[in-house]
């Protein structure tokens, strides 16, 4: 219990701890530094990710106003903006996670990744993403949710992931340590299956039901299985670096977790196949494995608590821990609990296609992948000469703005989702009439979004001003 209060103290701001001043001197010497040259590649990825994140909040706030003031003139139509928004929301955390992987690999295997290949991959990804965003805002779309980018661009993204995979594999084969760390195996499996699952879903089929079927290989299996394998190993590795716990504490249940993520993630895709024209037995597969998906989430919570409990030294700033706890919390709430509620067909038939899904998407995607990217950002970037003066105070304010904004958005969308499910799907009131009734909650959502945007802008501005105005201090 005492340990629990220590954790609470870490999270709650301005909670004075007695040994704060004493620690700060000894802490300075323990702050983590870059050990391998190729770890520097991750700076680029994280900076690009955070800049895209900052840009995205403007776009998202603009789009959310459409729900409140329908006739407001907008520079681009709602559907282009929305396509832009959801593509950004997938790719900026992806960039951040790739950056995180480039950071952990050299330390895990004791060998540099190939910097040249990593740089090629970085620029290929950035140029492709800019082309995707440009073409989407101009209205070029393949018209499939989350996969709106034109086929050539999607092929380039797959190519970039393949380059990434080859780079990891080459590094692992040249490793100096004799045994494979389980985390590295999870990572390789995760990246490999991300590529395998992306390829069928980037094609467009003749049958619309087939389109929908393969769409979820990216939309579901990426975020709930393969990327989760990658972030599980990233989190395990940074917990090792941050807390200095013994490796076996973090890795004890790792293989079991890998198996559960693959089992429940792959078969849990069934909860998207309830109503798309797939055979009815998907109802049972989706229900059972979708509900089981909460189990790996508990493993993450368990690992995080265990490592902080057993830590013997701290090698990073408190802010990193805060963001990590936010990742764990929102993953539990948004992905775990909300996902668990909505995966039952008897509930899903009413909530499906309402604001409830929007709520789940926002909380789960930003809550898990977004906060993890911010964790990595505040863990890794202070180790770079040019950004070592990132303001922890601003980061702290942003942390509370992001969390409270997300919570307000979550509550508003939850109420809106319940009302909409009831009136639209249960009672049978016409869609546009229900939409008019939802306006108050949509105002709440936009307010939450604006608070959230405030946090994002603070982080983005802090980064930009560090990069541009503050020359490196020797």
């Amino acid at each position: 219990m005492g340990r629990f209060f220590d954790i609470v103290k870490q999270i709650v701001p301005f909670w004075s701890t007695n040994n704060n001043k004493k620690r700060s001197e000894s802490e300075q010497s323990k702050i983590k530094t870059i050990e391998y040259e190729s770890q520097r590649v991750s700076f680029k990825f994280l900076i690009a990710a955070i800049l895209m994140f900052t840009f995205q909040v403007f776009l998202a706030s603009g789009a959310s106003i459409e729900f409140i003031i329908p006739d407001l003139p907008a520079p681009i139509p709602f559907n282009s903006g929305r396509a832009f928004h959801i593509n950004l929301s997938v790719f900026w955390p992806l960039l951040g996670i790739i950056g995180g992987v480039y950071y952990i690999i050299p330390e895990e295997v004791g060998y540099d990744t190939n910097i040249k290949i990593a740089n090629i991959q970085f620029w290929l990804t950035i140029v492709t993403l800019l082309l995707i965003y440009g073409s989407l805002s101009l209205g070029f779309t393949t018209g499939r949710e989350y996969l709106e980018a034109l086929l050539p661009f999607k092929i380039l993204i797959a190519l970039s992931l393949i380059i990434f995979f080859i780079n990891i594999l080459l590094t692992l084969l040249k490793r100096k340590i004799t045994e494979w760390h389980p985390t590295m195996i999870g990572l390789v499996v995760g990246v490999f299956f991300s590529i395998i699952m992306y390829i069928p879903s980037m094609l467009t089929y003749k049958n619309i039901a087939m389109d929908e079927f393969f769409k979820f290989w990216t939309v579901h299996i990426w975020v709930e299985s393969t990327l989760e394998l990658i972030i599980a190993s990233v989190i395990a590795s940074i917990l090792l670096m941050m807390t200095g716990v013994e490796r076996k504490t973090v890795e004890r249940w790792y293989y079991v977790e890998v198996f559960l993520v693959i089992l429940t993630g792959f078969l849990g895709v069934g909860h998207h196949y309830f109503w798309i024209g797939a055979p009815h037995w998907w109802l049972y597969i989706g229900m059972i494995f979708g509900a089981l998906q909460i189990v790996p989430v508990f493993f993450l919570v368990y690992t995080a608590f265990k490592s902080v409990k057993r830590q013997n030294m701290k090698t990073t700033n408190d802010l990193t821990f805060k963001y990590l706890w936010a990742t764990v919390l929102w993953n539990l709430v948004g992905a775990g609990i909300l996902g668990f509620i909505m995966t039952w067909p008897s509930i899903n038939q009413y909530t499906h296609g309402t604001e409830m899904v929007s709520l789940h998407g926002h909380l789960a995607l930003f809550g898990t992948y977004g906060f993890l990217t911010l964790t990595l950002f505040y863990f890794i970037l202070p180790q770079w000469q040019r950004t070592k003066n990132l303001s922890m105070k601003k980061g702290n304010i942003a942390f509370w703005l992001l969390n409270s904004g997300l919570a307000l958005m979550g509550i508003s969308l939850f109420v809106a989702g319940v009302i909409q499910s009831y009136l639209l799907r249960y009672v049978g009131i016409e869609f546009t009439k229900v939409r008019e009734l939802l306006v108050p909650y949509m105002i709440g959502r936009t307010l939450g979004g604006l608070i959230f945007a405030g946090g994002a802008i603070i982080i983005g501005w802090d980064l930009i001003s560090n990069l541009l105005f503050k020359k490196s201090i020797p």
């Binding site: 459409e66 329908p70 006739d71 709602f78 559907n79 282009s80 929305r82 396509a83 209205g139 779309t141 018209g143 499939r144 949710e145 709106e148 467009t204 003749k206 049958n207 619309i208 039901a209 929908e212 079927f213 769409k215 293989y255 079991v256 890998v258 198996f259 693959i262 089992l263 792959f266 078969l267 998207h272 309830f274 109503w275 798309i276 024209g277 797939a278 055979p279 009815h280 998907w282 109802l283 597969i285 038939q349 009413y350 499906h352 296609g353 309402t354 604001e355 899904v357 929007s358 799907r425 249960y426 009672v427 049978g428 009131i429 016409e430 869609f431 546009t432 939409r435 008019e436 306006v439």
Partner: protein, 137 residues
């Protein structure tokens, strides 16, 4: 332990591939036709799914179109795309329109989607659905 987990992962992946194979060959959709394929292109090109939903998947700004053809007739849809009414709560911003040929293809597409067996979704509602007619007459 390691070998057991590897074995279980392989079993999972093999069964996943098998049920994928079975599903792809047993989708509960009607036969494809030319008009439908043209309509599907129109559907994709206009990015309809980023305002509307289909099978409940898409954006949540506009209504679900899975069962449109059970509620509307072809004549009404032709008028709709020609007249382009403002969709409430909008007053001035009009719904995007389609040419006459495109409208016919779109109707074929929506008919195809309507015939797909969606395991009973959307659920039957308490009240009979009362749709607006947007003063198209």
């Amino acid at each position: 332990m390691k070998y057991l987990i590897t074995f279980l992962v392989v079993v999972t992946l093999v069964s996943f591939s098998y049920i994928t194979y079975v599903t792809v060959n047993n989708l509960k959709t009607p036969d494809l036709n030319k008009r439908y394929l043209a309509g599907k292109k129109v559907w994709h090109k206009n990015g309809c799914v980023d305002c509307h939903t289909i099978f409940g998947n898409g954006a949540y700004l506009a209504s679900d179109l899975t069962k449109t053809m059970s509620n509307r007739n072809a004549e009404w849809i032709k008028k709709f795309f020609k007249k382009r009414p403002a969709m409430p709560p909008n007053r001035t911003k009009r719904h995007p329109g389609l040419s006459e040929g495109e409208t016919k293809d779109m109707i074929a597409f929506l008919r195809f989607v309507n015939k797909i067996d969606t395991n009973g979704w959307p659920p039957k509602t308490l009240l009979e659905p009362k749709l607006r007619d947007y003063n198209l007459k």
